[in-house]
C-alpha cells in the first residue's frame, strides 16, 4: 500500500508539518474532495512584510488518505512566508513536485491542498472587503 509513495510523501504523512488549528485565524478554507469524500481545512494568519501581505502562519487539518495528508503538510510549507499573490499561484503540480511525485491515481489528492489554500486566502479577502465596507 505504501510502496507507491515516494519517501518524501511518507515523511510528510508520518510527521506532517503545520498540523493543527490557529485561534482567531484571518482566513479559513474548508474543502471537500468530490471524488473521494475527503476533507481539508486550512487556517491562515496574514501579516505585512515590505508593504506586502504575506502568510505569516498556516495550519491544516485533513481527513483523507496518506497522499492527502502529505500534500496538506507540503502546501503549508510552500505557502509559509509567501505573499498572498504568490501563495495563490501554488498549483497541485508544484505540491506533487515538491513531494517527489504522487502515484497517478493519487494526483487528485493534491487538488484538495491547492483548492483549500486558495479558499482560505479568498476568505481572508472577503472578510477584509466587508470590514472596509463597514468602515465607510
Amino acid at each position: 500500500m505504501t510502496l507507491d509513495y515516494s519517501r518524501e510523501v511518507m515523511k510528510n504523512f508520518m510527521n506532517p508539518k503545520n498540523m493543527g488549528e490557529i485561534k482567531n485565524p484571518d482566513g479559513i478554507g474548508k474543502v471537500g474532495n468530490p471524488s473521494c469524500g475527503d476533507v481539508m481545512w486550512v487556517y491562515i494568519k496574514v501579516g505585512k512584510k515590505g508593504g506586502k501581505e504575506v502568510i505569516k502562519d498556516v495550519r491544516f487539518k485533513t481527513f483523507g488518505c496518506a497522499a492527502a495528508i502529505a500534500t496538506s503538510s507540503m502546501i503549508t510549507q510552500l505557502a509559509k512566508g509567501k505573499t498572498l499573490r504568490e501563495a495563490e499561484k501554488i498549483t497541485n503540480k508544484d505540491v506533487a513536485k515538491s513531494l517527489k511525485g504522487l502515484p497517478p491515481i493519487k494526483m487528485h489528492c493534491s487538488n484538495l491542498a491547492s483548492d483549500t489554500l486558495k479558499k482560505a486566502i479568498e476568505d481572508y479577502e472577503n472578510k477584509k472587503l466587508k470590514k472596509n465596507k463597514g468602515k465607510k
Binding site: M1, T2, Y5, M10, F13, M14, P16, M19, E21, K30, S35, C36, G37, D38, V39, M40, W41, K61, T62, F63, G64, C65, A66, A68, I69, I105
Partner: protein, 382 residues
C-alpha cells in the same frame, strides 16, 4: 523491524510442509501426467492422489474435482461455462451484492452476452435471506451463485438452506468458498452444492492453483480447448507441483487451528473495541470466518491507517487487496448499508494459524497509536 502479517485473507504464507511436498515435482518428478511412460505415470499418480484428498475433504467424488489456475478461473468457469451450456433456453443468474470482484465482473461481462443477473441485497451483517433467493428464481434461471465466507467482512452464509431452495426449484447452486475452505464446514452433500470454487493460496498452499467441484452429470462448456486434460474440461498441462501443494495444504489443515484462530480473533476484537468510535463490520461468533476482522474507525481514512501501520510493520488491508488501487468505497461495505464515508474508514485485519497473541498485542498498540495520531489530524474528529 518487526513484521506482523495481518493480511491472510489476501494470501497466506506457504506452509513448510507444503513446500517440501512440492519441491520434488519441479526437478525430479517433473513428468507430464499425460505421458505414457513411467515419468508421466508418476506425475499422473500425484495429481490423482491430490484430487482424491481435495474431493474427500468436501465429501465429493474424485472425478468431480477439476483443477484450475486460480479461484478467479474457477469462478469464471462456473459462471461462463454454465451460461454457454444453458443459453438461450435459460439466461438468468441470481447472485449477491457482496461477491468477490471476480464473480461480479464475470456477471457484468455475461450481461453483455445476453445474461440477466439479479444481485441480491444483504442485511446489515451481510447475510443473504434465503427467501430472497427463492423469490428471485424464475423459469429462466439456471444458476444461483452465493459466496460462502465473505472475503471482506467474514460473514458465513447458510448454504444448506439456500441449496435446499435451489434443489427444489431445479436450479444449480454454486458457491465461492475460497475464504471459508478448511475454516468452517463445507460438505457438498449436506449443503446441497452443485459447484464449489476453491483455491490454495488462502490456506497456506501455493498461488496460481484452484479447483472447481462440479457435481457429476452437470453440463458445462469448457473455457479452454486443447489436450483434453481434466476430463476434457480444462485443457492445459497440469501444474503438478502446485496441485500437490494444494492437496498437502488441505491434508494438514486442522479444525483445532480454526478454533485457535477464532479465540485469537475475538481477543483481538475485544482489544480493538477499547478504541472509541469504532465498529465491527459483519457477523460475530461462529457465523464469521475465524480469521477475519473488519473495523470502521470514525473520522479517519482506512487508506491512511493502512499506510501508517505498514511503516510500523503491521500489514493490514483496506477492503480487499484487489480493490485498494481504486478509490471506490468497498461494494461489500456499501451493501451493508454503510455510507461511502464510513466504508472508506475501514480496514481488514486477517490472522492465520501462525499469528500469536504477542503479535496481536503489538498490533493493538500500533493501531491505537495510529488512530490517535490520525484523529488529531482529522478536522472531523474535533
Amino acid at each position: 523491524m518487526k513484521e506482523i502479517y495481518l493480511d491472510n485473507a489476501s494470501t497466506t504464507k506457504v506452509d513448510e510442509k507444503v513446500l517440501k511436498a512440492m519441491l520434488p515435482y519441479f526437478s525430479e518428478k517433473y513428468g507430464n501426467p499425460s505421458s505414457p511412460h513411467l515419468k508421466g505415470e508418476e506425475a499422473r499418480r500425484a495429481v490423482e492422489e491430490s484430487r482424491e484428498i481435495i474431493a474427500k475433504s468436501i465429501s465429493a467424488r474424485q472425478k468431480e474435482i477439476i483443477f484450475t489456475g486460480s479461484g478467479t478461473e474457477s469462478n469464471s468457469f462456473a459462471l461462463k461455462g454454465l451460461f454457454f451450456a444453458n443459453y438461450p433456453e435459460k439466461s438468468h443468474i441470481v447472485t449477491t451484492k457482496i461477491e468477490h470482484d471476480c464473480i461480479l465482473n464475470a456477471c457484468k461481462w455475461l450481461e453483455k452476452q445476453g445474461a440477466k443477473v439479479t444481485y441480491l441485497d444483504v442485511d446489515s451483517e451481510g447475510f443473504v435471506n434465503p427467501k430472497d433467493v427463492e423469490k428471485a428464481i424464475t423459469e429462466k434461471t439456471f444458476l444461483v451463485s452465493v459466496i460462502h465466507g465473505n472475503n471482506e467482512i467474514g460473514t458465513i452464509q447458510d448454504l444448506k438452506e439456500i441449496g435446499k431452495i435451489c434443489r427444489s426449484k431445479g436450479v444449480l447452486f454454486h458457491t465461492d468458498a475460497c475464504q471459508s475452505f478448511t475454516k468452517t464446514s463445507l460438505d457438498v452433500k449436506k449443503q446441497n452444492l452443485d459447484l464449489v470454487t476453491l483455491n490454495a493460496h488462502k490456506i497456506h498452499g501455493p498461488k496460481g492453483v484452484g479447483a472447481l467441484y462440479i457435481r457429476e452429470g452437470i453440463r458445462i462448456t469448457p473455457l479452454l480447448h486443447g489436450g483434453s486434460q481434466e476430463f476434457k474440461l480444462r485443457s492445459s498441462t497440469e501444474n503438478v507441483p502446485a496441485i500437490v501443494g494444494f492437496a498437502k495444504a488441505v491434508k494438514i489443515s486442522r479444525a483445532r487451528d480454526s478454533v485457535k484462530m477464532q479465540k485469537l480473533r475475538d481477543y483481538f476484537i475485544k482489544g480493538l473495541m477499547e478504541i472509541p468510535n469504532i465498529r465491527l463490520n459483519g457477523a460475530t461468533g461462529n457465523k464469521r470466518i475465524c480469521n477475519n476482522i473488519n473495523i470502521s474507525f470514525r473520522n479517519i481514512e482506512g487508506e491512511a491507517i493502512g499506510s501508517f501501520l505498514s511503516v510500523k510493520g503491521v500489514f493490514a488491508s483496506t477492503g480487499s487487496a484487489c480493490s485498494s488501487k481504486s478509490l471506490e468505497p468497498s461494494h461489500v461495505l456499501l451493501a451493508l448499508g454503510m455510507s461511502p464515508l464510513e466504508a472508506n474508514s475501514s480496514i481488514r485485519l486477517s490472522i492465520s494459524k501462525y499469528t500469536t497473541k504477542d503479535e496481536i498485542d503489538y498490533a493493538l498498540k500500533e493501531i491505537k497509536n495510529t488512530v490517535e495520531r490520525l484523529r488529531k489530524i482529522s478536522p472531523l474528529a474535533s
